[in-house]
């Protein structure tokens, strides 16, 4: 109750800024936390903290440098329903990467956004608007600001102890930096195989394609292929630790923008 009262001015502040970001939700309207449309909206704080080793801190094709980096990613969300099938989310999200040695790799982003999700026969169709501020360094220099407009389709398939969560996402980024304007397409498949109530094997194969439209990046086309394999341990239903190995490769029609990357590390996910 007291927390809700504290949150109200924060929500009001974000509302006044007319800038709301969107994150992608694979399991909106999960059975665990249904929000009846006639009830008050609910707020939550969710996030991840991940210390990770990478063998290519600067995404370089030729100048490969390994390093450790620390990446917190925290969101404050407000979820509610407009009808039985139509839900909304308002959120603010902060995320950064801080490298131990390769400081040129440091980056941060602050997002605010809004999302509408229509639940139709198990499929979730979302329209998302996100206003974001990208920084060089950990919130050091503002690099560019953007307005992302997104549409996504997602669903969960549960079979015995296996959950498959496919997601398709299309984004266009409007930005004050010409080089950042682009189309983006994502296709990913969340896979979870429960071994027992505490332990799971998880993986998220992912494909991304980027079509840059302006500035020095005009005509550039990137594709990212990524696969990981991890072991997840549930401390509680809302806190888990996943240790995984990830391989990622980017191809591009700009040869110098190609890279491959191997990452290993634990990630703590939490939802309060």
């Amino acid at each position: 109750m007291r927390g809700s009262i504290v949150l109200l001015p924060v929500v009001g502040l974000f509302g006044a800024s007319a800038a709301w970001a969107a994150d992608v939700d694979l399991t909106e309207l999960k059975a665990s936390s249904p929000v009846p449309y006639y009830s008050a909206p609910s707020w939550s704080v969710v996030g991840s903290v991940a210390p990770t080793f990478t063998d290519n801190a600067l995404f370089s094709r030729d100048n490969r440098k390994s390093d450790f980096y620390y990446e917190p990613d925290v969101s404050v969300r407000l979820d509610g329903n407009l009808t039985n099938d139509l839900s909304y989310r308002l959120y603010a999200r902060a995320q950064y990467e801080a490298f131990a040695r390769e400081k040129d790799g440091n980056a941060a982003v602050a997002r605010v956004g809004a999302r509408l999700t229509e639940n139709w026969d198990g499929w979730r169709f979302s329209a998302i608007y996100e206003n974001r501020y990208d920084f060089d360094g950990v919130y050091r220099d503002l690099a560019f600001t953007s307005h992302d407009v997104m549409g996504s389709v997602a669903r969960d398939f549960r079979m015995n102890n296996v959950t498959l969560s496919p997601l398709l996402l299309v984004t266009y980024r409007f930005s004050d930096l010409a080089e950042a304007r682009r189309w983006r397409f994502d296709a990913l498949l969340g896979i979870e195989v429960k071994l027992d109530p505490k332990w799971s094997i998880v993986s998220t194969p992912l494909f991304e394609a980027f079509w840059f439209t302006d500035g020095l990046n005009r005509g550039r086309q990137d594709q990212i292929y990524s696969a990981d394999l991890g072991v997840k341990y549930n401390f509680t239903s809302n806190v888990s630790l996943t240790t995984s190995v990830l391989y990622e490769a980017r191809t591009s029609n700009v040869a110098v923008r190609r890279y491959r990357d191997l990452r290993i590390g634990p990630r703590l996910d939490f939802a309060f």
Binding site: S33, A40, D73, E97, A107, D134, A143, L188, A271
Partner: protein, 84 residues
């Protein structure tokens, strides 16, 4: 003297080169790209959790029920007659 100037110029160019490289807007875009891809993976991890629900409690405006209103009226009129 001339040699010293060349050394200073070399140092200046050497210092400027890394910052010029870091200022390439395409590098900022690349870093942003990695943050976005990681955010997508974070979303997948978070969505495997059960998110607790904390309903916002917004106090509705106090509107007395009709029966309470009627009672109040009665009471006030009764007290009015009493004072008179």
């Amino acid at each position: 003297m001339m040699k010293c100037a060349w050394v200073l110029m070399g140092v200046a160019v050497g210092l400027a080169a890394p910052s010029a490289a870091a200022a390439d807007p395409r590098d900022s875009v690349d870093r942003s790209q990695r943050l976005d891809t990681d955010a997508l993976r974070d979303d997948v991890g978070i969505n495997r959790l059960q998110v607790p629900s904390h309903p916002l409690v917004i106090a509705p405006p106090q509107q007395p029920s009709p029966s309470a209103k009627a009672g109040k009226k009665k009471k006030s009129s009764a007290s009015g007659t009493g004072t008179r």
